[in-house]
Symmetry: D2
Subunit: 433 residues, 4 copies
């Protein structure tokens, strides 16, 4: 990556370069070597949801001591490291290489997005109570939006009911795919629901409220597996909210402003996901290359890499990774130059391209490993499962493709006018014949 010229790491700020080098070292020499130990320290059976492997807390201590902490928080936040989205994007790519890196550096979803929301929209009291321990890595959090009974890729469909009653909100409804809610340290949910179903604007019917995970009426029903992975201890959970009561001051930004909050939340987070997917793909390509050149693995008299389509798969992967990285960094740069709203088109492009690219590269790497590639002896299958969820997370491909297409079509009147003018000039030239 350091060799890409359009985004030349050597030209970025010295602060970034220092953090980037440290991150690289930390990921490659601390996180990746700790992955097997983490797996062994995982609890068995129900304990999978109760025990946090100690090595993770050790990595957190080390990361923090190195200054690799909360790097995701950009310039606009007092608490932040002051990195641009491009700079943090490059760091996120690096952390995408190891499943242990993001949390070790307190940069893992969904906490990052939740911390951004609290930092941006939280009241001083909300910040004190929730943002502080989150920034400290003491607690974790979840974002509860998706519901099983409606097509929640259109968020206006969301049904969880938020009713004002005296000085409390009362929540009733069902959520699922709430990532992180299985973690014993998860103390806070940001819950999106319908607080004003009759509002004439579909985009003013929703609110987001803060719900302590231990609030009466909250029941985590079950974790949902991704392919066969339960992703313990975080998990992706189904949660029932039954007459859950929270004080009115737990609202974020104000009633009816749920859409405003999620719009503000999603831009940079999508970039992080995309860049981590690129990191996954780079690691997968490394695994593939090491495998196909393994002198012990020869078939029909040749090294695997000398057969048919393997070299071509490597070359295509190289192309696809690099062109996708540019697309994502471009979106990051666009956010840096303005804001996430102005970069909607670029973010959509990145959001569609990166997970699909990662899946293609991972699938080739799996294939090069034989059946072993599907097991957990290599990080490929789990990465595949993770990358597959990204085609839904923060909106399915279809929604982004459709928005992007319509966005692009906004140029069409201008183009049509240009075409008309060109035709007129053409006719004028022909008229002289």
């Amino acid at each position: 990556m350091a060799t890409n010229s359009l985004v030349d790491i050597k030209k970025l700020s010295p602060k970034f370069q220092d953090l980037y080098a440290k991150t690289k070292d930390f990921v490659e020499n601390d996180c990746i070597p700790a992955e097997k130990l983490f797996d062994l320290q995982m609890g068995k059976g129900e304990n999978r949801w109760k025990i946090i492997p100690p090595v993770l807390e050790e990595l957190k201590v080390k990361a923090r001591s190195l200054g690799l902490w909360n790097l995701f928080l950009g310039k606009t936040y007092a608490e932040g490291a002051g990195l641009t989205n491009v700079e943090y994007g490059l760091i996120a790519e690096m952390t995408g290489r190891s499943k242990l890196a993001p949390e070790s550096m307190n940069c893992s979803a969904p906490d990052t997005g939740n911390m951004e929301v609290l930092a941006k929209y939280g009241t001083p009291a909300q910040k004190e109570k929730w943002l502080k321990p989150l920034l400290d890595g003491k607690i974790r959090s979840a974002f509860a939006m998706t519901e099983p009974r409606v097509a929640s890729s259109d968020a206006t469909n969301i049904e969880l009911n938020i009713r004002r009653e005296g000085n409390e909100y009362v929540l009733n409804g069902l959520k699922w795919w709430i990532s992180g809610a299985g973690d014993p340290r998860c103390a806070l949910y940001l819950v999106m629901g319908k607080s004003d179903a009759d509002n004439e604007s579909k985009y003013r019917q929703q609110s987001i409220v803060l719900v302590p995970a231990d609030a009466p009426g909250v029941t985590v029903v079950r974790p949902l597996p991704v392919f066969g992975y339960d992703d313990a201890p975080e998990g992706h959970c189904e949660i029932v909210f039954k007459n859950v009561r929270v004080p009115l001051e737990n609202i974020i930004l104000g009633e009816g402003r749920g859409f405003e909050v999620i719009q503000g939340r999603l831009g940079p987070g999508r970039i992080h996901h995309c860049m981590r997917a690129i990191g996954m793909a780079e690691r997968a390509l490394e695994y593939m290359m090491v495998r196909v050149t393994d002198p012990a693995r020869r078939t029909f008299g040749k090294g695997l890499y000398q057969h048919g389509t393997i070299i071509s798969d490597i070359a295509r992967s190289r192309i696809e990774i690099d062109q996708t990285r540019f697309l994502v960094l471009n979106a990051a740069q666009k956010i840096d130059e303005g804001n996430a709203k102005g970069a909607l088109k670029e973010i959509s492009m990145a959001k569609v391209a990166a997970p699909n690219m990662a899946l293609a590269v991972l699938d080739r790497a799996i294939q090069a490993h034989g059946a072993g590639g599907l097991s957990d002896d290599f990080p490929l299958a789990k990465s595949y499962a993770g990358a597959r969820t990204l085609r839904f997370a923060d909106g399915p491909d279809e929604v982004h493709i459709s928005q992007l297409g319509r966005n692009e079509l906004r140029r069409v009147d201008e183009i049509r006018a240009k075409f008309e003018s060109q035709k007129e000039k053409s006719r004028a030239l022909l008229a002289k014949l």
Copy 2:
């Protein structure tokens, strides 16, 4: 499927039609409704490998009473139902719809291939001891070929050592991805190993011996997960063979004849896999269609099926399923007309096409279900994992593609001669100008 004309079910034998109709009814009305119960009856923790859900045995009783038993065994076997490969292929497609159907009908891999081997090459004593209980559904079996330390897609690389010592063979080596070996009922392994490493023909160095699962020195080390699924109770296991001793009469067909056995074994089995993959794809398409027309799931003012690419995904899936089915049935027909060896090309084509098609259709169906499609609330994600293994099972895509390409090139001399003759005729015509 009944509407496809090239292979019109109504024109096949009345016996087949009866069995086909019964299979369809059994799969749709017995197996599929029992799937959730099966999951609930599964053991927890270590018991996953010890308990066989009772509903499975009930289904076996019912299938057997309906005559839906051992249908895979073709005409050439006394014990068989006398179905052709095309006929059994169509039944296998039907069984591919439910994970419970193949075993319920005693038609599940790897038992089917093992029973074929025993029926074809077994001595009377081997048949009595192993084939009989297998045909009876009393025991299960595994086929131990793949090894972790070599590229075993080229079977000449296999290293497990088979040494003759007195009136015994002594086996030492390591196998993995031994499907079915986790099952408490698995009583027999067919083990491929190197018995004559110095034989000048690479294809005469291997033998296959029968090893009781409880033989001293056999250790099932662990099950290997497929995308997080352990596929308990069968599992895909790593097994150590350490000084495992079996009597000389446990050899199949004779020393050095391992390749002969696996060649004979693989043809029809590949057809079964492919047809079951088609059944999976058909069921996935049904799920997709039901989902996208669900009146409760509307986004942005439209039903899902009215959006963008969904209709196109359905149409393409229909095309891909149908053309793949023809390819597989064609290979089955080719085997029926001669033998598996003569149908090598057709089998390779089917073997490459069917799993890749199924994966594409399943992936679209998953996408149409949102994140839920990746969970076990629907049969899609697990089917995807299963279909993904088929791109390795019985040889990876790459090996089949390469064999097929070289096979096709055998025609080239004849074509070149035709081209030369055409050019000569062309020159003769021009000469008259």
Copy 3:
């Protein structure tokens, strides 16, 4: 092809087998060797549209003497050879190998469809005047439907005006892509236009009338090129109809019955196109295989076929050709068993699959030939251009995909009911727990 088992040529009627063998011999030994002579005999400049290369008439004489004449006309026509659609489909595949074969055997579009229309719907007088010389190969014809100013993939948009005036119809309008209209022998147009714009049914507004090519008011404006090919002498022409008058008896079937006619016309013709596309693809694959094994063409120390992806391209082409052929023959068989209307779904599948497959195979063959593959030294580039038009001819891919998808969705209520019943059975089983 003779080796495909699902459609085993040896099992078809002896009459077919005789015609098939003769066709094969005629195409390979007469048509293909005559291609270069045909090119040389083509006129230069404006003469391209005036001269029919003599070798074509010689080939017609030979084909007719062999009984290879009007084979497209099926059993239902007195004039026909009595072949089924499957049988003629196989013959059409063979004729697709040479650009000279279809017309030599009086089996080329659009004459075939026009002859079918006249045979099926023509009055005795229409048959005598137009069908007879067409069947005789004395004249040629065109079908004038597509218009430049509307989206004529939806035929209800067609605007050419047909006005009844006394005992005449008066035609005014513009058509383009009228294939065959450039041919000096083209004597007849079947013209679709709007005769009753106010009819409440959009499908009753259109009529088809017979227009002699030399009728006053008809002007062939220009041929339209396809990727630079003008396809002289037939051409794909733009035609102005200005106050063109024909007698009332020139109507086909009756006023307002245009849709009825085109529905009846298109089914078998689409099969012919598809099968010829398969023939093109087979010939392209032959060219590719001969090229990559050419001993004079070695790069970097290896034969081309020993490099990377070439073998894979050959293997994939083999798979794609075969599975597409089955799809098309299946549609033909479906027509044979009922009629084109009942085979709508199968025809759509074939119509989408075959041209796209042919383009993929042709593109690989071109690539294997280097730049030469794009020239006319090989038949590949012209075939590519021809196959590319098939993605529009008789409806663009998009229309077929959309129809097919909606057609498939008609099953959804039945599937949903099945799912509900399965869920109920499942619940009943769980209730016993």
Copy 4:
């Protein structure tokens, strides 16, 4: 494009910005409107190769007066405009939108590469005689490398014989696909041939000599069409060299240094091709968007853009164009930072990605136009033909893919070492358990 952030035009040099704005205006308002006039001014029949449409010379005059002349020549050349490769790349993209723009600005292949060779390696006399009139736009030139009888994608196969005889070189051989050789203004060929077949290094056997187009013994045999386009007046020609004699001083750089010359020549030229392909794709996307929103083109009650996959095609095109542009500009930037040799990998990536992307976008645009898209009423079909040649020009995809894959594998030892070190660290951690 101006909105892409990674390469923000507003941050590039003011000189570039001025030239870029002028180029854009010139292309959109002068070149594109002149395209139809150019076509009408083309000669007919043989005159296609004799007449240069006057409008082209008028455009050249205008471009030169605007300072839009020889912009391709970079900083390192005294004659150059001093633009970086990134800067000129962006201008090349703009010129790729109109077939008239590159030559109007004296920036068309193969002259650009030839001028670079002469500027870099030419003697003062060679420069005076050939470079000067080329820079002046008075003559044109060709580069004669490809041969019909060998696989010239491996340039060591080239066979044209260059024999030293007294103070002359004598050339004998056959070339084809010599672009530009049909142009009546083409005065010079740079001919690559074998001057020392016995040299032990395969890469020292070739030389390049300057051959006046009117040298005795040179015969332009025929133009080769691309699909059906002859690309007159430039053409892609087959040329016989029969005892062609040139003085010894016509050698470029020295005997046996042919490879050195072509290596130096190809880097930037490939970038130009790629960027022009991107310009083609952008224009195609504009055509597609205007077409599918044309209010006159509605089918089945909807605008085309409201149907199924059209929006998705637009969105995917947007993604593919943008990510490819970044890849190409990255290669340009890499050249700017060092030299073409150091950017070999990046150039290969761009060279594979850009033409394939352009073909995909063009094909979708063609499809959206119906059959008209294949004609010359729109610039799409001709652009497609042009872009298709780029998959061969300067090396076929396969060669670049293979080089890129092997290039990437050079990293593998380092990665393997890293993996080993990580495993060791992992084992050390586990040992503490």
